[in-house]
Symmetry: D2
Subunit: 493 residues, 4 copies
């Protein structure tokens, strides 16, 4: 019942770690079960906490909990408490520190005209600025989530219908987001004007036996899980409103060239998802091939850093003809917490998640393939471990350009000062990490692997701000001093 946390840190974290997975269902039998299964398929987008709000035709029902989907919805009492054929669900990313249950989405509000449940994936870049203005007006905030800004903007809008109020609210926010919302009689999906974050639409059997059932989800892998068929990506800037009369599409924003997040392809999305027409798995293999073409190296083995580096390593191996081997084994049973190693043990080289396959590595020239280098500390430890297992040479190839800038659009990257590539040349990085050679894919190579002729600097096809510093959405909050964003309350429970 008691949570130990310091909200201050949490607010700070929230602003930069809003990776999440969302799902909405309409006219499906046992919406809570379908939604929970979809959330399970989206578990990689958030493992910290999860929530589902259903509607049974009369009333909303909610469950929120800390932990995995499978730790929350296996309880038959919980599922029995979530009746109805419509639902919205949310997975929250595991940031360091504990989580206040009141921050777990979907948020729910009772408006004059009825209830409203909303979950979002992404990050508003003017949330604090708007929040300050709303507090001045007398609005009381109960969570530290961006979603609550949406909710207050809808509450005070002068428009009459939910959709008009929502559009009114959307026009005031800036940021990268996908959101799903449930009202008394409507399921709503929204993708931000640039389409930075993904949202897809699927179709399944209808609970009423007449019209189809609908599923909105962050990624297509959720459709496979629940047996729904892929219909299409929601378009950037599109609002879809699903009710008894079917699916309506609204486009209240002036059209812009889309900028889908390139990092979803590189790392974040699940390999079996298809986003904006591309298989994520195939894209990663193509990036690996491109990388091998750009930065070949004579070696005995291509070894992926599991699990995210595997497809790129396979592509690299295929292109280079060097054998692909599982030289690093991942331990999936890490558990909730672990021994804080004493100095003496740390010196022994503790590797809780990865271990070296000595029999494969000993005496070999090894190419490690990974998706990115952020702080560099993990890479350094892995290289040390691989050398410790007897590798003769250790080279590293990275399937993304150097991460030189923080993401403010929903991916968890540390502040710029902590990014290894922000402060060091590739040669310096190689030395710090301890590899014999290091290479990143080029920006043009990355775009080529994704079906573009290269990066069109005037109008790039993707959001690649973390590699280029080219931020397509204004960073309003980021300009203001950090201290002003702190909460007055340090809360225990």
């Amino acid at each position: 019942m008691t949570q130990s946390m310091n909200t201050t840190t949490a607010i700070d974290d929230d602003k930069f770690h809003e990776e999440c997975g969302v799902i909405g269902t309409w006219n499906v039998t046992d919406a809570a079960a379908i939604t929970a299964l979809g959330l399970h398929a989206l578990q990689h987008r958030g493992q910290e906490a999860t929530g589902i709000v259903t509607h049974d035709g009369v009333r909303f029902h909610a469950h929120k909990g800390i932990g995995l989907v499978g730790d929350n919805y296996g309880d038959t009492k919980v599922m029995a408490g979530l009746p109805g054929t419509r639902a919205v669900g949310h997975n929250r990313y595991a940031t360091t520190g504990a989580t206040l249950l009141r921050n777990v989405q979907p948020l729910f509000a009772e408006f004059e005209f009825g209830g409203f449940a909303v979950g979002h994936n992404g990050n508003l870049t003017n949330a604090h600025t708007l929040k300050r203005a709303l507090v001045k007006r007398g609005c009381l905030f109960q969570s530290t989530t961006d979603s609550e800004v949406f909710v207050h903007l809808i509450a005070i809008s002068l428009y009459a219908t939910v959709l008009d109020r929502l559009i009114d609210a959307l026009k005031q926010v800036t940021g990268a987001y996908s959101l799903v919302a449930l009202t008394n009689d409507m399921l709503i999906g929204v993708r931000d004007p640039l389409g930075v974050r993904p949202l897809i639409l699927g179709q399944t059997n209808g609970a009423d036996g007449i019209s189809p059932g609908w599923v909105l989800a962050s990624e297509s892998c959720a459709l496979e899980m629940v047996g729904a068929e892929f219909v299409r990506d929601i378009e950037p800037g599109e609002i879809v409103a699903i009710d008894r009369s079917g699916v309506r599409s609204l486009k209240p924003f002036s059209p812009q060239k889309p900028r889908f997040c390139v990092f979803e392809y590189i790392y974040f999305a699940r390999p079996d998802s298809i986003l904006e027409g591309h298989s994520v798995y195939a894209a990663r293999k193509r990036i690996g091939r491109e990388l091998a073409r750009e930065s070949p190296i004579e070696a005995d083995l291509i070894v992926p850093v599991p699990d995210s580096g595997v497809p790129a390593a396979m592509g690299f191996a295929e292109q280079s003809g060097v054998p692909f081997e599982l030289g690093i084994i991942r331990n999936h049973y890490v558990g909730r917490t672990f021994i804080e190693p004493t100095d003496q043990i740390r010196h022994l080289g503790v590797r809780l998640k990865h271990s070296a396959n000595r029999a494969i590595l000993e005496g070999r020239r090894v190419v490690l393939v990974d998706d990115s280098i952020v702080r560099g500390t993990t890479s350094q430890k892995i290289v040390e471990m691989v050398r410790g297992a007897g590798a003769r040479e250790v080279h590293m190839r990275i399937s993304s350009p150097p991460t030189t800038h923080s993401c403010f659009y929903g991916i968890d990257t540390p502040e710029r000062g902590k990014l290894l590539a922000a402060r060091n040349s590739v040669a310096e990085m190689a030395q710090l990490i301890g590899v014999d050679s290091l290479a990143f894919i080029s920006m043009d190579g990355l775009y080529r692997a994704l079906g573009q002729p290269g990066r069109d600097a005037a109008a790039p096809a993707f959001c690649d701000a973390c590699f280029s510093g080219d931020y397509p959405i204004a960073l309003t909050d980021h300009a203001e001093p950090r201290q002003a964003q702190l909460s007055l309350l340090a809360e225990l429970a």
Copy 2:
């Protein structure tokens, strides 16, 4: 992390069961510990949940938890998370059903001008009416407590200072309440204009070693617990504002004749408290004496229904000269839940809280003294138990007039239709309960025992609505249909 509850029921319950205990401390060393001890002394006013908000000079800190004071503040981590020399604390009454943590007080809000923590004891009689208007205006409610109405009214007030905004809010609410609030630089105590609910002020050593420390509490017994000296009752309609410059008194309401709750003397307050100048214990004994004078009876034993009937039974025995004996033993180890007895066991006469002392009762003429008869079911079971233990005659004397009306001012009474005295004469009640004779103290007798010449029908000295139906504060919400008050959300966690 997960709570199973149906908010609908909860709202309903909340409106009629707002018995609570509050405490505020200012300039005391380790305010959280002092506040927790005070809450422990006030535990009889609420056992469901408890919360403390402290202020350390820079920031607020909060803990809320389900259960007893002693189950929440024994954890050194919890106490270490509550630094500061100022605090407000709250105990919540145990209503049936579970409790949502977000309803546990003190509530906390961040206003434009700083933080604000508030806890209250009592009940607003126009909370729903105000809430509807506030929701219409775009205010979002996160709890189902009356306190949140205060908070929104303060948030949207056009006045500048906290005190002016609080007065603005107080002028819009009607009801019986005592509240304590903590801002960045002030501790505030308020008692409603009629002074229905109690609030007292005490003084202790100051943490700064210069000015005194201050304690506001629902009852004086909290002062004994923390070693503070009683200063005075807060006056009806008075606001006390305590800050670095000392204690200020504000009286923003036009003066009215006070109507302190007579049921605090009869049952609710702790016997060792002194309220409005009367020792609760002595008052109860005097009521017992008056009762013996009004309704004497020839018998062998005076037996209290423990624990609340004990002082009145002692007074009755002293006045009547009939021996006082502990013929009923109370079991204090009831625990959280218990076996739901099957019919067969229920038939055996299960009495988890009380048991008959057969050696004392067998063959005797017994007078049971209790404080009140509400539904009558407990009285009936106790009489059956006493007869089962061999009592020859069983008489009952009640130290309050018949409870014919519900309380809307903060005492947990069932709706009128469930009150035995609302539907039955005393003779009928005697038959239903199964006693050989039954008598209640008269209204005038009760007033006499409390130092009045009798009840002045034109201007009674107390609120006695539960006995008289004379409601001194308008029952605004009560007029509106119940359905409209229901929440749209049935929440699991």
Copy 3:
């Protein structure tokens, strides 16, 4: 799942704190529920942990848990897991420190001839000596309870039947004990040869509709709770064996003059119990009268130290004619743990369980009546509190003789060096506690109040070792050095 405890301390504690409550049921409908209700009535004999073993005609079923009866058997799943019409149950006394679940009784063993569940109240005085011999023989001990010594002795006995093996075991142990045991086809009750600890037999409706149901319990109050009728006390040294053919009585020991524990009357048993023909409540009142006769004092008020001092204080007041008043209020909501008060707060006079009723005490000459003085620390604090509330004089009268010796027969008394009366005269004790006068009942006075002409030093009617040092059962273990009794294992879970 994890318990934090140091078994070393626990073993030590176990040897001197084996106060407990036991119950056995035979041929009763829903034996688990009846047993749980009986344990609830015996909750005062042990609040630390509880266990029930039932037999459904084919197989045994068990539940053990930490905490109160009401915290363990309210769960319908738990109750559904305990089918059958026969059961044994046990409450364990709350000693300081945590409890290993494996020490919670009833213990269960699978013998060659079937299962055997056993719970006991009391203490074996040669348990360690026997344990050492058993370990030498190859017996493995899994708990630190005396019960397990019984179980091993039965397991290795050369006799054929359970009863013969039990008698064989009983003849090897010395100590004060009552035990209940359940085999595949028999409920067994045993009282030690001197009858130091109580055990009674009751009768109720039989589950089979033909023969009666039977209940064995530590005290008669358990019979009232479950609607059973009192039949008789089990006799000292008696074994009752209850099976399909009815109740058999065995008396394998040579008869001795009984020595029932006098402290059960003074403090330990529940006032509504009848033990060895005496009402505990009436006995306490008589002791109070005798005390008033022996040590009268001029005063304004007789004030009991609640709850155990109440009947003696009533008797004292009746005899002396001085008014009986509740000058000390007991807080029953103490919860699991509490704030460890800092020195500064301790100085404030923390009184979590008791508080002074200032309005009654101020300016008065007060006689406090309590049941015993052990270490003296509680008495000292209470006197200080009563003086702090303004009492003019404080006298103390104790309804037992001075506690000069430790109990080794099942009552939790500290080692002799910590007993105030072991090291100080009554005059010194008065000064240490801070009273104006102090008196204890005399040994003869105590015996008179219990219907004896006085204490017959040659053949006392009771075990009064804690007051007299006259230990009627050999203290075999006590002779050996303490260190040898320590466990080799300090266990976490």
Copy 4:
């Protein structure tokens, strides 16, 4: 504190599911942390529960808990409670149903000559037979583990020293086991006479700074984790006794041809372990190559069933020249429990652990490579899923011979009647599973891949009973009727 379980089932389960991981450490700084890290590396051998017993030179300390290593030893309080430089640790396999804490190893016993902690991996084939004899002799069993049989045999042995008693015990048991034990002054490791289960010895820095530290573990991967160097496999039938004077080797059994478990290579051991001189990963790749040679197939893709099928699939792809692709994605976030799917959802094809990568599979001829087929239900679902994702042909290749017999030596296989290969020809299995072709590696092929010329039927190099029915150790218990093994007690907690 309460566990819900039926011991009957548990006993049954225990007998056939004794897969586990063990570790022992001697003279290492912070033995509990080193042991916990080693257990983490052995987590794949048991995820149900874990325990560590340490010795601090004077006394033993223990922790046992349900769940993962990382869920138990992250608590600094737990680690602080486990001081010392010597320890034994144990991981327990996750069988269905809950676990009684008292069954969690290492077991601890206090013998006449001191304490003894023991954990084992494997299964005794005469445990029930021995247990029956021991119970007859008066031994009391407290757990349902085979380890306790060892402990009782040691307790009653007539030999004087621990080692002599242990050898005495070992000579009475039959079965496949590795065990580690800790006494007051010695760490002991034992491998069964045929060496069916693995146990290796490693060396590290000594805590005393003089002599080396020693580590015994089920697999060499635990040495990598803690920074220890591999010394050698413990030999079949060898006892190593490590104390202040160093490592002694005892070989009390008459030598036999070893029969190491071939299934450790195929599935159970971690790929980065080296067992009996073979890299597990390399062995699996060689098996895949051999399988491709024996059962080639024209196809577009080789797809492993993750994670265990991956190395064999890589070997198969390399040998066949068909591309290796990750056509099935594994979800590692399954959590504790999950929604029990209703029929309607089950129909949708719920696959919580695996999902098909449609973009890779659609329209292709796919070869699935897996390590074994047990019941066939998982294979059937995976084939259905792969076809549902559009595969044109689905072939299956299995890197073990058909599993036709149950294992009684410590691997969790269902009873024979549930093994698909026990009742069906390969052609029938192909049809049941729904594949276009199915092939298993031949027994000789398997032996060739493991460096043998083929299987020498007269004296096979491995235990392959699950494929051949050639059980090298007598199945004593298996002959007796199952009912006789059931416990008399169905326990809740």
